[in-house]
């Protein structure tokens, strides 16, 4: 398993070891002195069962938490993420607690894309329009010319 998973297991195992060490057989026999004096072997086997059952239950619980929380996979991916960040010293970004603020960066790349689209569209339209405007101006000149021609002919006739 990954570093996180190993560490998790190691910490739990150490906890269990120390717990069993604390609740030693001596301690157990000492507390149940009256029964121990009567039945020392039985006391020992009851103690052994107590310890093994407790350990089994605790390991089972830990396994259940791991399964429910999908911890193996999460520890795995966390190790990778931590590995990728190992070069950087300074603290990384954290949610500000103001969704609008945090949303800005998520939106920014798309707004920038939108902006370049609009810029391109505007440029195309401006180029397009300036061509059409040339035609319109030429058309206006042509019409003025025609009107002048007509006027000349008309005057001539007049």
């Amino acid at each position: 398993g990954s570093g996180g998973a190993r560490l998790f297991a190691a910490v739990v195992d150490t906890f269990l070891e120390k717990l069993v060490a604390a609740g030693s057989y001596q301690r157990f026999a000492n507390c149940y002195r009256c029964f121990y004096d009567l039945q020392p072997q039985l006391t020992r086997s009851i103690y052994d069962q107590f310890v093994s059952q407790l350990q089994a239950s605790i390991q089972e619980e830990i396994q259940e938490v791991k399964n429910e929380g999908n911890l193996e996979r999460l520890f795995d991916s966390l190790d990778k993420i931590v590995e990728e960040a190992k070069e950087r010293e300074e603290p990384a970004w954290r949610p500000s607690g103001i969704p609008e603020e945090d949303m800005r960066s998520a939106l920014l790349p798309h707004l920038l894309k939108h902006r370049s689209h609009l810029r391109r569209l505007l440029r195309d339209r401006q180029q397009d329009n300036s061509k059409v405007a040339q035609c319109v101006l030429a058309g206006r000149d042509r019409i003025a010319e025609l009107q002048q021609l007509i006027q000349d002919r008309q005057q001539a006739w007049q």
Binding site: L107, H110, H114, L118, L121
Partner: protein, 32 residues
């Protein structure tokens, strides 16, 4: 309190993507 934290953290994880979907849709609609 715990549920609030988990709920808030889950939103922080998922909602930017959801919001982006709508924001991009809006931009595309505007472009069209």
């Amino acid at each position: 309190f715990d549920e609030l934290i988990v709920e808030t953290a889950a939103r922080r994880k998922q909602w930017p993507k959801k919001i982006l979907v709508h924001a991009i849709q809006a931009m595309k609609a505007e472009q069209n």
